[in-house]
Subunit: 440 residues, 2 copies
Amino acid sequence: MYSTITYTENTQKQYLYLEVYHRYRELILSDQLLPGTKMPSIRKCAQEWKLSRTTIENAYLQLAADGYVISKAQSGYYVTDIAEKQKKETGSSHLSKPVYRYDFASSGADKESFRFDLWRRYIKSALRQDERLLSYGEAQGELDLREALSSYIRERRNILCSPDNIVIGAGVQSLLQILCPLLSERKTVSFPTPSFIQGSTIFSDFGFDIQYRNKNSEVIYVSPAHMTKWGEIMPVKRRLELIHHASSQNSLIIEDDFENDFVYLQKPTPSLFSLAGGENVVYIGSFSRLLLPSIRLSFMILPPSLLEIYKKKANFYNQTASKAEQIALCQFIRDGHLASQTRKIKRLYSQKLKQLQKSVREVFGENSYIRTGAAGTSLALTLPFSGSSKSLQKKAEKHGLSLSFLEETEQETTVILSCSSMPVQDFLPALHLLHYLCTH
Amino acid sequence: MYSTITYTENTQKQYLYLEVYHRYRELILSDQLLPGTKMPSIRKCAQEWKLSRTTIENAYLQLAADGYVISKAQSGYYVTDIAEKQKKETGSSHLSKPVYRYDFASSGADKESFRFDLWRRYIKSALRQDERLLSYGEAQGELDLREALSSYIRERRNILCSPDNIVIGAGVQSLLQILCPLLSERKTVSFPTPSFIQGSTIFSDFGFDIQYRNKNSEVIYVSPAHMTKWGEIMPVKRRLELIHHASSQNSLIIEDDFENDFVYLQKPTPSLFSLAGGENVVYIGSFSRLLLPSIRLSFMILPPSLLEIYKKKANFYNQTASKAEQIALCQFIRDGHLASQTRKIKRLYSQKLKQLQKSVREVFGENSYIRTGAAGTSLALTLPFSGSSKSLQKKAEKHGLSLSFLEETEQETTVILSCSSMPVQDFLPALHLLHYLCTH
C-alpha cells in the first residue's frame, strides 16, 4: 500500500468526486443548504451530474467525514450545523485572558529596558542579506554569531571556548531537546534550583527520573544566579564544592546562567563552567531576559566529551532559531550593544528593586519580612494574612492584581513581587491595594 | 550542599582570589607573560599582594583549571601557550565550506521566489508592536496567527479546525519534540516517505523503533506530496486506503504536508487529515519552502484525543518560534500575500522544472531516462555512468558541481537534479559539465 505511482492523466478520474464535494461544501458553508436539509439521493445526484453512483457516494462519504453532512440509517444524508459552528468558532476563539491592572507576577520586560529603534535597525539590515536568507541555516547556528558569542562569553564570563563548542537554539528547551539524547547513559537529574519547571518538562519527556534535591543524581541542573525566586546567588565557595562533588561522582552539571546579567555585585561571579575548567559542565546562556522575552535565542557550550557525540548527530537537527535574528544579534554584539545593554539592565532593575523594597516598607511597615538576593527582579514578602493563598489570589484577581505565591503557613502567606515589567509609579498604589486585600 | 545563602559583605572575601586570577589572566592574554614563563612562587606572590597563601593558591588553581598555567611537579607553575591558541582559534574557525559553481543538490530558494521588500515591511511593522514584544509569547503560538492559519488551512486544504487545535513551533522538529512525548503508548514508527531523515532523528531520540516500511507500525509518518525525491504524490485512492488501514489497526498518521504547495495539478489533492475527518491524523504544515528556508515557522493540527493530552502540558513548553515573525506572518496571511505567494511559487517552479527536463533531453538525448512527479522541484536522471557514484561525486566537486545521488547499478547511476535555487540560464552549462564528467 505504500507503493507510489507517477501522476498520469488516468488518475484525474479520481478527482471527479472532489468536484461534487466542493460544490456541496460551498452550498453548505454559504447557507444555501441549511442545517437539517436532506441531500439529494445518490441515484438522483448521479443523474444530475452525469457521473457514476460510486463517484457521488465518495463525495458524500467525504462530506460526512468532514462533518458537513450526517448519514441517517435508511433515510439518507442531512446537512449538519457545521456552518454556524464554524462562524462561532472563528468569532469567539479569542479566549479572554484576564487583564491585570497591576502585575506583580510578570516576567515581562520593562518598557525602558530595550532600545526597540536600535534592534529594528539591526533586523532591517539582517533582512537585507537576501542571498543568505535564501538558504537553510547552519544546524549548529550561524558561524559568525557563534564566533561573536565565543568572544563575548570569554570577556563576560571568563569562559574559553571555540565557536565549535557552541550550539544555538530557539530557547533553553530547544537546547535541552538536543542535549538530553546525548546523555543516554544518565537517567537521573536533580534541580537544586527549583524554579525552572520548563527544564524539568524536557527531562521528563526523555524519561529521566526527576529528583529535585538528590545529591547523587547523574545530572545536576542549576542556575547559580537564580537559586531562589527572590534572586539569591550561589556563593563561590558553594560553586567550588558543587564542582568537586559532581566530579567525584562523575555527575554532569548543566549550568543555566539565567539572570547572571542581573547580579548587582561589583565583583564577578565566576561561572561553574570556567571554575571546572570546561570539563563536565554544559553552560547555557539566553537572551530572553537581557534583550526581549520575545526573542528566542539561546546557546549552550558543550564540553569536549559531549561535543564529540553531538558532532555525529549535528546535521540531523535543523536549527530552530530565526536566521534573521541570529544575523542581527551577531552584529549587535560586535558593535558593543550587548555589553551596554547589560549595564543598562543592571542599573535599571537594581534601582527598581531598591525602590520596590522601599515602597514595601512604606506600606507594610519597617519590620515587614522581606527577602532579597543579589540578583534578579523580585523580592519575597511575607504577609500577615491568615487566610489561604487561594482566597487571597481570588480577591486579588478580582481587583486586577496579579500575584505569585511562594508558601503559606497558618498565620502568614509569602508572595513573590516582581518589579520586572511594572512601572515604578505603580508600586505604591499596587502595594496599597495588596495591603487592603490582606486586612479586609 | 544545595543550601543557598543571601549575599552579604562576608562573602566578599571569597572573591579576593579572583582579583589575582584576573590580573594574571590579563598579563598572559596580552603577552606580557609569555608562554613558558615561570609564575612567581605562591609564597612570594602572597607577600606581594598582601594576601594569604590559600588565596593565591586558589587563584593559581583556577588559572591552571582554565588552561592559562600548568603545574610542574616540584617546580611550580608555568604559563601555557593558550594566548596564541586562542588567537588562532578565533581567526581560523571559518571552516571553509566548498563553494559550488552549479548546485543541483540545493534545497535553497530561487531568488525570484520571494518578495523580500514585502516581508521586510511586515517584519518592520511587527517590530513596532513594542508592548507585545515585551512579554513572552503564548506557549501554543500567537492566537491571532493560529486564527489566520485556521482560516487559511480551511480555504487551502479543506481542513476544519479551531485555532485551539493548532500548535506553532520553530520547524517540524520542534513540533515533533512536543508531539512524541504525547504518544507514550506508541513505540514504533514507519516512514513510507524515506526522505525526511530529520523527522526520524526526533523519533529515535524519544526511543521509538524506526521501521521504515512496516505497515503495522503504531505511527505512520508520511508526506503525501513528496513520496519520492522526484516529487511523486500519493494518489487519492492510496490516501483513502492508508486512512482505512491506519484506522483498522488504530495507527496514528502524521501527515507532513511538505511541498503540497508545489503540486502542479489543477485539481486539489485532499489532505489525509480532512479525508479522515480529523480523527487519528496529525497534520503538519511548514513555511520554509513556501516563504524562505530561513523563516522557522511550522504548525501542527492535533486531533481531539491528542489535544486533550497536550492541553495539560501546553504551558510547560515555551514557544520556540520568533514572536516578531509570527506577528508578521499573521498579517501577511490576512492581507492575502500567502495565497499569491503560493500561486507564484507554483508558476515559477513548474516552469523551471519543465525547462530543466527540456535541457536534460537536449544534453543527454531524447531517450534519457528521466523520472518526474506531479510536485516538487527535482527530477531523477539515470546516467550512463558505470563508475561508482563516489568517484563521480568527487570529480563533480572538483569541477564545482554539487550532486545528490539516488542509486547506482553496475552500468548506471541515478542522480536527483534540483532546479530549486539554480537560475535557468545555468541549466545547460551545468548539464553539459555533468555530461562531460560522465563520459571522460
